[in-house]
Amino acid sequence: MNSKKKEPLIHITKRKALTWKQEWLVRLAGILIALILCAVITTFTTHLNPFGVYAAMFKGSFGSPRKIWVLGKELAILLMVSVALAPAFRMKFWNLGAEGQVTVGTLATAACMILLGDKIPNGVLILIMLIAAIVAGALWAFIPALFKAKWNTNETLFTLMMNYVATQLTAYYIIKWESPKGSGNVGIINAHTEAGWLPTLAGQKYFLITIVAAIVTVVMFIYLKYSKHGYELTVVGESQQTARYVGIKVDRVIIRTLLLSGAICGLTGWLLVAGSDHTITTSLAGGRGFLGVMVAWLAHFNPIAMVLSGLLLVFMSRGAGEISTTYGLNPSYGDILTGIILFFVIASEFFINYQLHFRSSKGKEE
């Protein structure tokens, strides 16, 4: 037998539960270390003053009232998608189809604007657009949910595939509605009459979007935490066996929850077309269906915490845009910084739950 084996260099043990404050301290420390690392990398690779770069990023997000409103709108839209995913993810239904669900929402909204614009009163039109978008988003989520509930198909693949169908469907209609003919895109819909455009509230184009997102987020938080539905879907997510045991109709809960998830995505599509872009392209959702997955996970599916994780991501992407224009850096440079910061944020979750013991320091600790 070899007794030469040494004590392992590092061993990992589970930590005592940290207080709420300590957890945030760990996260803050993580972000701080990430910023230092980013600064070092910036200095070495670009020879720029890292503080200047950080200042530019901050300016890109908060530099002017307009920039703050754009940041608010970007956050609102991303938050809507993340919040839409929350109930599905709580139920451990991995809805990767938010991208497609938002896209069909934009398609339905645009269809109403194009086909019904100026034919009916504007208020009625906006309402019809809203209903059409919600129904379209819900339908896009209902199909995989039904298959999951009845035949236990894999929802991850199914929802992912539905994204492509949504994109292709949108591409077809864009060609059908293209204006001017041959341009390959739709252009601004109802540019002169502004029929179906969401009103500008309080003098701000994006005010309505921000308010809707805030309401949806708070309502979802209450729905998940205090409602019977929220309780049921959490039980289904934890154990379908337990759910059946207490008489919860699992298939019904799956379908109901995904209808809700898809409906909010559809609503997001409505906000995008009617409230912000006033046009339709195949990429209006812009990857938020996937970015939202990250926001939701970072926030442990808590809608209120998603405001913070969403803000971090939106801030980074707005800031990255700014530094690429100010310093002429490749836009991917911002992605590198975002990647480093996210890495540290995720790593801090590990340090919240575990601690490391090193060989030499062990004697002193005990």
């Binding site: 037998m1 070899n2 007794s3 084996k5 040494k6 004590e7 392992p8 061993h11 043990t13 589970k14 930590r15 005592k16 539960a17 205090y226 409602s227 019977k228 539905h229 309780y231 049921e232 959490t234 039980v235 934890e238 154990s239 066996q241 337990t242 059946r244 045991y245 207490v246 008489g247 013991h357 005990e366």
Partner: protein, 516 residues
């Protein structure tokens, strides 16, 4: 031990903590070659943790381990094998679709330049089997094996890897008395061969039957050790619990028994068409405990789930008989519809955290599982479940930091108290329980027996699926024995003897666990 003064394994001042929980505190334990040591302790007393540090699954925070007098560091299961330590875990770690031989050599690197040789492995497995009296076919697939055969494969697996220090974590929990005797015979052979063995068990009569020495842990601390031949069950229990405990299970006479649940010709197939219950008929009476005995997997689960409305039934009847004698069929109704009929049926399922409770939810939220629908509000009412949780914690003496602790953080016994507490809180008329004391220590087990007896005295019809025949024979008024999905007999709990029930459990063709 007298003729071998150096301990095979010597653990010195071992401490292991998980967050704020101290699993082992300054524990020192020695054991020797040629002896069998029983490790006794209540749930959560740190027995398995202590042994996991020998098998390389955990690494101690402090303390020293010596093997044959040499200090060693065991930081992985591979290290443990290198030192000749093999552990047979409570939950088997086998690949179902592989044969016994494939499972046994799984993970062993062939020597350099050699290919994996299954035939040679099979031959060596047969040698080990002949040496100790095992009965294993190296070419049989795991999914075709009974629980006791799987366990044998686990033991052969560690012997094949050259283990001469064996640790068995509750090996008898899943065995019939006959299978336990066989296992013990094998263990005695290994002891004679100079191997060291540690056995963790809650069953004191087994401790007396097999071990030379007993070491007792309580709340993570080493309490003391005893020579088995010089002690008795009462002394061991007192040491384990820390105070005097009565080891008698009450059995009040049934009062005013009348039929409550009537099962006629019940036949159930699993999803893949395997016959699980075959023409089962019986009656459960009010104020009576009906025991269900049988090797695990003989249809007990399906039987209870069929009554509770969770299992599709192929043929037969299940009727609920009201006090006035009218019959209401239960088949085809789900748990909600059964409750809507006004039948208060409580069910403590075998899989506590996977079915009876939600592991990540706290006590309050788990209390709500049965009652959250009450009221017309869209929102859940957490006040009354919280009161219920506090009541259960107090009355059943659940040890928990609070009612907002997730149940998965509680130890097995406390989890079970929470589940049983919730199920009897609804004042049931029928109480179904499956392996309600599995893995529980003596103190918790007796608390549960007591609770069940109180329900019986209230006039509840109790169906008690159990595995420990001694308990079934002490607690139940009647015992129904299942064998391969059929009723092989219904005996009187007061007059039946253990051998008779043990034989009924295996009397029909084909064991319970075989799927084909």
């Amino acid at each position: 031990m007298q003729n071998n003064p150096i301990a095979a394994v010597s653990m010195r001042n071992i401490t292991k903590t998980f967050g704020s929980v101290v699993a082992n505190n300054n524990v020192s334990l020695d054991f020797y070659r040629g002896e069998i040591l029983s490790l006794l302790g209540e749930n959560g007393s740190g027995k398995t943790t202590l042994m996991n540090m020998l098998s390389g699954i955990y690494y101690p925070d402090a303390g020293e381990i010596m093997i044959d007098g040499q200090p060693v560091q065991i930081s992985s299961p591979k290290d443990a094998y290198d030192y000749g330590i093999g552990m047979i875990h409570q939950h088997f770690k086998l690949v179902d679709v592989f044969t016994a031989a494939e499972n046994i050599i799984l993970g062993i690197k062939p020597e350099k330049g050699k290919k994996m040789d299954l035939a040679d492995a099979s031959r060596r497995i047969r040698e080990i089997c002949d040496l100790y009296g095992f009965d294993v076919d190296p070419n049989q697939k795991i999914y075709n094996m009974s629980v006791s055969q799987k366990q044998t494969v686990e033991i052969v697996k560690v012997l094949y890897r050259g283990a001469d220090i064996l640790i068995l974590d509750e090996p008898t929990a899943v065995l019939t008395p006959q299978e336990t005797d066989k296992l013990f015979a094998v263990l005695r052979n290994m002891k004679a061969d100079g191997k060291a063995a540690v056995i963790i068990t809650h069953k004191l009569h087994e401790v007396e039957a097999i071990s030379d020495r007993v070491a007792v842990l309580r709340k993570g601390e080493f309490i003391g050790e005893l020579i088995t031949s010089e002690t008795n069950a009462q002394e061991m229990t007192n040491m384990m619990v820390g105070h005097e405990v009565s080891l008698n299970i009450e059995r009040p006479e049934p009062k005013d028994a009348h039929p409550r649940i009537e099962v006629k010709g019940l036949t159930v197939r699993s999803n893949d068409g395997v016959l699980r219950l075959d023409d089962v008929s019986f009656t459960a009476n009010t104020g009576e405990i009906l025991g269900i005995a049988g090797i695990s997997g003989c249809g007990q689960k399906e039987l209870l789930e069929a009554i509770a409305g969770l299992q599709a039934v192929e043929k037969g009847e299940i009727n609920y008989i009201e006090d006035d004698g009218s019959r209401e069929p239960l088949i085809g109704k789900d748990p909600l519809e059964i409750a809507a009929m006004g039948v208060s049926l409580s069910f403590v399922p075998e899989d506590r955290l996977g079915m009876g409770l939600v592991a990540s939810m706290d006590l309050t939220d788990n209390m709500m599982l049965r009652s959250f629908r009450q009221g017309r509000s869209l929102f859940t009412d957490r006040k009354s479940p919280k009161k219920l949780a506090e009541k259960v914690v107090e009355e059943l003496d659940v040890s928990t930091p609070g009612v907002d602790t997730p149940v998965r953080r509680l130890s097995g016994g406390n989890v079970q108290k929470v589940l049983v507490g919730r199920e009897i809180a609804s004042a049931p008329t029928v109480l179904l329980t499956a392996y309600v004391v599995r893995g529980l220590d003596i103190n918790s087990s007796y608390t549960i027996y007591d609770l069940i007896n109180r329900q019986k005295e209230r006039g509840v019809a109790v169906v008690f699926v159990g595995e420990d025949l001694d308990v079934l024979l002490e607690l139940c008024d009647r015992i129904l024995v299942l064998c391969g999905g059929r009723v092989s007999g219904i005996v009187d709990g007061r007059t039946a003897d253990k051998r008779e029930v043990g034989l009924l459990m295996t009397s029909l063709q084909g064991g319970g666990d075989k799927d084909e």
